[in-house]
């Protein structure tokens, strides 16, 4: 079981690194999709079936395509002339390393405190449905509202302002 975890972890981290480091933008996008897929499988491994499928459906299905579309629409697919990394890339890297160090230190410090829970939670879609409509009905409605607003917003923001001839 550990082997699968390590495999998936390697896949996700590799995808993430590729997404960040690759020169070619579309390759980064695809690497991201690999990272998303790795994560989805990690979710499934953690028995969060619904979350996994949602992850696949949302991220791989929609977000990845969105990113790719964005890349194409902004002509990101050609190779950028000057370097891919911003001038003060070292600072960014240092900060990221700092963040990782802090998080890792925190995790290692506290991991002992959390009891190892082995039981596999039997979660069925019905429970999720009930939870969604029961306890989490307010967040559900709010997210619904948010999504409509976001779609309309994105459309308006990205709408081409050309003057349509009034028919």
């Amino acid at each position: 079981m550990n082997v699968v975890f390590y495999l998936l972890a390697a896949l996700t981290i590799g995808g993430g690194l590729a997404a960040v480091l690759l020169k070619h933008l579309v390759h980064c996008a695809l690497a991201t999709t690999v990272a998303f897929a790795g994560l989805a499988m990690l979710f499934l491994q953690l028995d969060a079936q619904f979350a996994g499928f949602a992850q696949i459906l949302v991220y791989i299905g929609a977000v990845a395509i969105l990113i790719v579309f964005a890349i194409l629409l902004t002509r990101g697919s050609e190779l950028p002339k000057d370097g891919v990394f911003s001038r003060s890339w070292f600072v960014g890297l240092a900060i990221a390393a700092g963040v990782f160090a802090v998080l890792a230190w925190a995790v290692l410090q506290s991991v002992r405190a959390v009891p190892q829970q082995m039981a596999v939670p039997a979660v069925s879609v019905r429970d999720i449905g009930n939870a969604l409509v029961g306890r989490y009905v307010l967040p559900l409605e709010i997210v619904a509202l948010l999504l409509t607003a976001a779609t309309i917003g994105a459309v308006i923001v990205a709408m081409h302002e050309k003057e349509r001839p009034k028919s």
Binding site: L46, G76, V91, V99, G153
Partner: protein
């Protein structure tokens, strides 16, 4: 022996750091968005991990949170990319360093 919680947390932390590095280092706006997406996913992973290894998995809070965060992240990505496209239409570049004028 299933891998302990720490494993997942570490993976999430690493993924988060990579996402942050991407956001900070890369020049292109879309890469920053990708970095942000990675960070969000890392967070989701943490959520699910804690839900799975947490005391009351049947309470579904962790998973619910993750699901909602996925939805929100999708919306955010949509709007973010919409913005990048419209900025591109105005300034014909997605280089973040060049986009520093507030003028409309």
């Amino acid at each position: 022996m299933t891998t302990p919680l720490a494993g997942y947390l570490l993976v999430a932390a690493l993924l988060f750091a990579i996402g942050l590095a991407g956001a900070l280092v890369r020049r292109n706006a879309i890469l920053v968005l990708i970095g942000i997406e990675l960070m969000l996913n890392a967070a989701n992973l943490n959520l699910i991990a804690f839900w799975r290894f947490g005391p009351h998995p049947e309470a579904l809070t962790g998973m619910m949170f993750a699901i909602f965060s996925i939805a929100v992240a999708a919306a955010e990505a949509a709007v973010g990319l919409g913005l990048v496209i419209s900025i591109y239409r105005h300034t014909n570049t997605t280089e973040l360093d060049k986009i520093n004028r507030m003028k409309g």
